[in-house]
Amino acid sequence: MKIIKLVSIWNPKGGQGKSTLAINLAAASVELGLKPLIICQDPQGTSLLYYKSGNLPFEVVDSVPTDRPDADIVIFDHQASDWEVPKNHLIVMPLKPARDQYATYIDAYRRAELLGKKIITVVTDGQEHRANEKDTIDYLKSKGACVIPSSGVFSRAASEYITIFDQKMNKAYKIRERRMEINKILAAILIENEETKNDSK
């Protein structure tokens, strides 16, 4: 039976970039020839809105499928205010590098850590020209976090409900760097050894 990589994008704090990260990681995996599936677990349905626009080269579903999905990687896009640590082993936690955002992140991180989860931290929307944010980013980097700086490409992509891997974004400013950062996170996910078999029938 094919092993499906399960990954949860989780942080109880809202507005950290969970859905943006979910759709862009899925798009990056398509570039690698993988078949992703996003399971939207958020009543706001942000990733579903992207899917319904018809611009995504992968599927987003609104609930956990009853049958085993035909996918290589399944990404759970969790909702804000969800304090229940995801059941699967691998969790990606995006956060913005401000103190109040960090406070919620570290509370949730500790909970996941206690359950032995593998956590990949992603600092999103950071502005390194601000000394305070730079310190936080450097600290999290030293702990192994990935970083996606604040960038106009995400809002530009959002305005058309597309991912940054869409061809329309090819000429966007610093698109190559942003795509590489997403690819780096995907690589960290894919090389994680603790793979989980999806037991759903």
Binding site: W83, E84, Y102, I106, D107, R110, L114, A131, T136
Partner: protein, 91 residues
């Protein structure tokens, strides 16, 4: 060099908080999940009953369908459970 003096403070606070199992505001309402119950696996097995009973069952199913009540397999299961309760041994 780390200049932010709050990181250690937040880390220590979170470490203490996780020991309690609470959130920072434990009195605030928490998100309650209501996952759909999985449909039980049912096996098909033929039984012979009198026509009048079959018609009565069909009528019952029809009435439940109108009121959005239990479906035919659930009604059949309920009937079987009642039979088991009535005729099976108490041990």
């Amino acid at each position: 060099m780390i200049v932010n003096n709050w990181i250690d403070e937040e880390n220590a606070r979170a470490t203490e908080l996780v020991k309690t199992g609470n959130t920072t505001n434990s009195r605030a309402p928490l998100l309650v999940k209501n996952p759909k119950q999985p449909t039980p696996i049912r096996r098909i097995r033929s039984i012979y009953i009198q026509e009048s009973h079959s018609l009565a069952f069909d009528k019952l199913v029809f009435e439940h369908k109108i009121t959005k009540g239990k479906k035919a397999p659930e009604l059949m299961e309920e009937a079987i459970e009642l039979l088991i309760e009535k005729y099976s041994s108490k041990e």
